[in-house]
């Protein structure tokens, strides 16, 4: 593993980087208390039943019987134990994450999902108690995971609202607290926080400009045009978004110019490129005056109604190595303790397969939390009773009613991030409905 000294040497050797290091060193003290949240959203509804498989004989037999041809063979899994002595296995494509679990950097949070308040099967079936709206719908459940409200019409996300709460820690920043590397997402929008967007690999700044007279005049004109809206709010919004892009990319470009390349190798995949971009931004956090950051990344394709075994294998084969590389990069940069990465997804999928090789939309899911500050090497929350029509099933197909809510999951992350306990309700409107506001994984 690269040490800070190696990192410095690499930078100094890369001629021209001296200026960059000069700037960095002048700011060395500010990063001591740096913290970042990195959300990796698995779009489509990841089947977490085949991501974390119970290996104790009772639940394993139940899993194998229900899943049938979709059951993974225990011999292919990476086994791990919990502090309570239960045995589980991670999907074969997640070997890297199993190692991080053993190193106590990765925690698993079981059966987490959208909830307004704690809910039992009895109450759900009797239509008693508050139920999140539009369960099993992709768009609505994605929105609820991102906004942590009990409705799909929220206009801000919890990443943005958490950033609102810590804005005072970034008061001299030249760059937004929240960054999406995968386009617009409501997770990133706060009341006062507006997100930056960076497209991995895209140039920072507009094409075709130089400092000579005509191009400079063209840039001036382009910027002036952004203030003319002709009385249209849509024109004004479109111009405002472009203006943000120009400002943010200029700030980022200034900071990254001369920054040494990270030695950590990232996989050349969609998620690998996104997380590499996140690492490059974290690398220059001090130069942009950022003490707190929130990032949003995503990987799509998890809606495995058919061909699940092959499709999920390929997707988890992208997820595991990308997360592991990103963790290594945070170690390389000396910020592993300050960066916590976590997964979200629309929902999990039915334990009961359908008739054509896949599974349908369900509810509670298992999720990963990764980072140097994580109390890793354990499974948090309650693993569902793997019984169709059992105590945790919303119906008869294995749609687990969550036993940990996205409110608690998010509040744990947000509290670590720096949102004061008494302000958690501003970020997670329903947190007061839950007895334990935060879990012990951070």
């Amino acid at each position: 593993m690269a040490t800070r000294r190696d990192f410095l040497k690499a930078g100094l050797a890369a001629g021209g980087a001296l200026t960059w290091f000069g700037r960095m060193n002048a700011l060395a003290a500010t990063s001591a208390n740096y913290r970042a949240l990195v959300c990796v959203f698995l779009f489509g509804g990841n089947d977490s039943n085949n991501m974390v498989v119970p290996l104790d004989s009772g639940p394993l037999a139940s899993y194998a019987k229900i899943r049938g041809t979709l059951a993974l063979s225990p011999s292919t899994l990476s086994p791990f134990a919990t502090s309570r002595g239960a045995a589980y296995g991670l999907h074969a494509q997640l070997k890297d994450l199993a190692s991080l679990y053993q190193d106590k950097k990765l925690a698993i949070v079981a059966n987490t999902g959208t909830l307004v308040a704690p809910l039992t099967r009895t109450d759900y079936l009797a239509s008693k108690g508050a139920v999140p709206s539009n369960l099993f719908s992709h768009s609505d459940q994605q929105a609820e995971w991102q906004t942590s409200s009990a409705g799909s019409m929220a206009t801000t996300g919890w990443g943005g609202r958490a950033a609102d709460q810590v804005a005072y820690l970034n008061s001299s920043a030249s760059f937004p607290t929240v960054v999406s590397v995968t386009g617009n997402a409501i997770f990133t929008v706060g009341s006062a926080t507006r997100p930056a967007a960076v497209t991995p690999g895209a140039p920072l700044g507009l094409r075709g400009y130089s400092t000579s007279l005509a191009p400079a005049a063209r840039m001036n004109a382009l910027e002036q045009l952004l203030s003319l809206d002709g009385g249209s709010t849509l024109v004004s919004q479109a111009a405002g978004i472009m203006a943000e892009g120009l400002k943010d990319s200029a700030a980022l470009n200034k900071a990254v110019t001369g920054a040494p390349a990270l030695t950590t190798k990232f996989p050349s995949t969609t998620l690998g490129s996104q997380l590499q971009q996140v690492a490059k931004i974290i690398q220059v956090r001090d130069l942009m005056g950022l003490n707190r950051q929130v990032f949003f990344c995503s990987l799509g394709g998890f809606d495995t109604h058919t061909n699940q075994l092959a499709d999920q294998d390929r997707l988890l084969g992208q997820l595991g190595p990308a997360l592991a590389a990103f963790y290594s990069a945070t170690v390389e940069m000396g910020v592993a303790e300050g960066v916590t990465t976590f997964t979200e997804s629309d929902f999990s999928r039915t334990m009961q397969p359908n008739t054509n090789g896949g599974t349908d939309h369900a509810w509670g899911a298992h999720h990963f939390v990764l980072g140097g500050a994580v109390n890793g090497g354990d499974l948090y929350g309650k693993f569902p009773d793997v019984t169709l029509g059992g105590a945790d099933d919303a119906g008869a197909e294995g749609r687990w009613i969550p036993t940990t809510s996205i409110n608690q999951y998010g509040a744990t992350l947000a509290a670590w991030f720096g949102v004061p306990n008494q302000r958690l309700g501003d970020v997670f409107p329903n947190i007061g409905n839950f007895q334990n506001k935060t879990l012990a994984f951070l």
């Binding site: 045009l225 479109a238 120009l246 359908n354």
Partner: protein, 506 residues
């Protein structure tokens, strides 16, 4: 390569639209105005132009050559032809409506990058764009592309031994995304609320499970010379075929309608589609989608209600007549109000990337060849044509930009980074070279010495002849210090094409 305008009697349009009104109408009804198409609308009037477009010969959607194995046919020619037809096609309204319907009835090459499969689907959209909505529902539902995309193909009845149920994917998405939506709608598209002020769901999980059973028992069409099987191998050029042995024949209850036992696969499917087709949500649902794609992101409830009324009855007792619906969308007083007056502050919509590029190229009289580099360039802006990332399409109808409280769907693709990439693509088209595309600014450059004519040419090309003074003054600051007539024309075209005033249609 616009064909010469046909001769039109002077009397065809009672009150010929002015230049700006015709151009504005064509921003909504075509891939963007050209001098020829503006003249045509002025000659025929709006209704006459629509009638002509309804009769126009559909653009060719060509087969893609199949290379010798093991190579796979490329999907690119399908995308290239999309841009070729958008820029050059004479059936502008049909291709524009078909592209809107593609964004409602989504099939994505992300899952099916077999050209044959997508071509069959795209031809159905083209063929049914001006037909009856029920035919569109049936054709797309039974098309093998949708069958594969949302898993209705080879979806067998539940297995009582294993306990496995029918695949719910198509049942859920046809209701949620293609026809009814999650919540009950009033006739004007607003949400029905219960006594507690909460939205009333259109259907529940049981409806989905029952509808999934109704949709069981379909497989790919039989390949020539092949023996029919329960699960035929993939075939893409004809509708799916029923296999009764794997169709669920138990009784069903869907959206409050009883389905008797022992209906055939085809009976159940027709029955289900008819129940959906007759649902009161369908009119306002379709009306709102088409208005959003063609005219404005946040139509008034009254506008939705008027168009939904035409969906419900075209005036001759026919429900689902898309020709009448398209006419109603484009001729509605709300669509036409800003022809002669200032648009309301939130009116209109951002040009989605494909429309931005096609419109700019048409406006500039660009030559676009059958094989061109536009698809990858436009994909950079978040719209990889025919590859929407999910069944939720390229962007969602309810998206509102941060801080806004009304929908502006196309803004979902406009991140700060994407906004800059839009300007970069305009830069490539004006200053650089995109394969298969020729932009010639000489006609503008020739006017550089005549300030009035220079301004007028850009005004008519980019802003319907209504160039605001402050915009032009700003553009001219850059043009004035740019040496050379060609470079002056490039600077003006780049600044206007990348400006928010051009990128928003209102």
């Amino acid at each position: 390569v616009g064909a010469a305008p046909l001769a039109v009697p002077q009397s065809a349009a009672a009150n010929p639209p002015g230049y700006a009104a015709a151009a504005r109408f064509l921003e909504q009804a075509s891939w963007g105005p050209t001098p020829d198409s503006i003249a045509r609308v002025q000659a025929l009037g709006f209704p006459g132009w629509l009638d002509e477009q309804f009769q126009a010969t559909p653009s060719q959607i060509s087969a893609v050559p199949i290379p010798p194995p093991p190579a796979n046919p490329s999907f690119r020619p399908v995308q290239d032809e999309f841009f070729y037809n958008a820029v050059n096609g004479q059936d502008q309204l049909r291709t524009r409506v078909a592209f809107a319907l593609h964004q409602v009835w989504v099939v994505s090459a992300v899952k099916i990058n077999v050209p044959d499969a997508m071509l069959h689907y795209l031809r159905l959209l083209q063929q049914d764009a001006f037909g009856n909505y029920l035919n569109l529902m049936r054709d797309i539902t039974l098309g093998p592309a949708m069958g594969h995309y949302l898993d209705m193909v080879n979806n067998d009845k539940p297995n009582p031994v294993t306990g496995r149920g029918a695949n719910e994917n198509y049942a859920r998405e046809i209701l949620q995304l293609f026809t009814l939506g999650l919540e009950k709608l009033n006739a004007d598209g607003t949400t029905v609320k219960d006594a507690n002020g909460l939205p009333v769901p259109t259907y529940d999980q049981e409806d989905i499970e029952e509808l999934a059973r109704a949709f069981t028992g379909w497989t790919y069409p039989v390949l020539p010379g092949a023996t029919p099987k329960t699960h035929n191998p993939a075939a893409w050029t004809a509708p799916m075929v029923a296999v009764e042995s794997v169709h669920d024949t138990d009784p069903k209850a869907i959206l409050g309608e009883s389905f008797p036992a022992h209906q055939t696969a085809s009976d159940d499917l027709e029955h289900a589609l008819y129940v959906i087709f007759q649902h009161p949500n369908l009119g306002p649902f379709v009306a709102r989608r088409l208005i959003q794609h063609l005219v404005t992101g946040a139509p008034s409830p009254e506008y939705v209600a008027r168009v939904a009324g035409v969906f419900n009855d075209n005036g001759q007792g026919v429900r689902g007549d898309l020709k009448a619906v398209v006419r109603a969308v484009l001729l509605d007083p709300e669509a036409r109000a800003a022809d002669a007056a200032a648009a309301a502050p939130g009116e209109g919509h951002l040009r989605e990337p494909a429309l931005l590029v096609a419109g700019l190229l048409r406006a500039l009289g660009a030559q676009v060849e059958k094989s061109n580099g536009l698809a990858p360039a436009v994909a950079q802006l978040g719209q990889n044509v025919y590859y929407p990332p999910t069944v939720f399409s390229y962007y969602t109808p309810n998206y509102a930009p941060p801080g806004a409280d009304t929908p502006a769907p196309e803004f979902q693709l406009l991140s700060p980074s994407a906004a800059m990439l839009r300007a970069d693509l305009v830069n490539s088209l004006v200053y650089g070279k995109v394969a298969g595309v020729t932009v010639d600014l000489t006609p503008f450059a020739k006017l550089a010495g005549d300030p009035t004519a220079f301004k007028d040419a850009f005004s008519r090309t980019f802003l319907r002849g209504q160039m605001p003074d402050d915009v032009w003054t700003t553009v001219m600051k850059a043009v004035a210090v740019t040496p050379g007539d060609q470079a002056k024309a490039q600077a003006a075209a780049y600044l206007l094409g990348s400006s928010a005033q051009y990128q928003v249609e209102r």
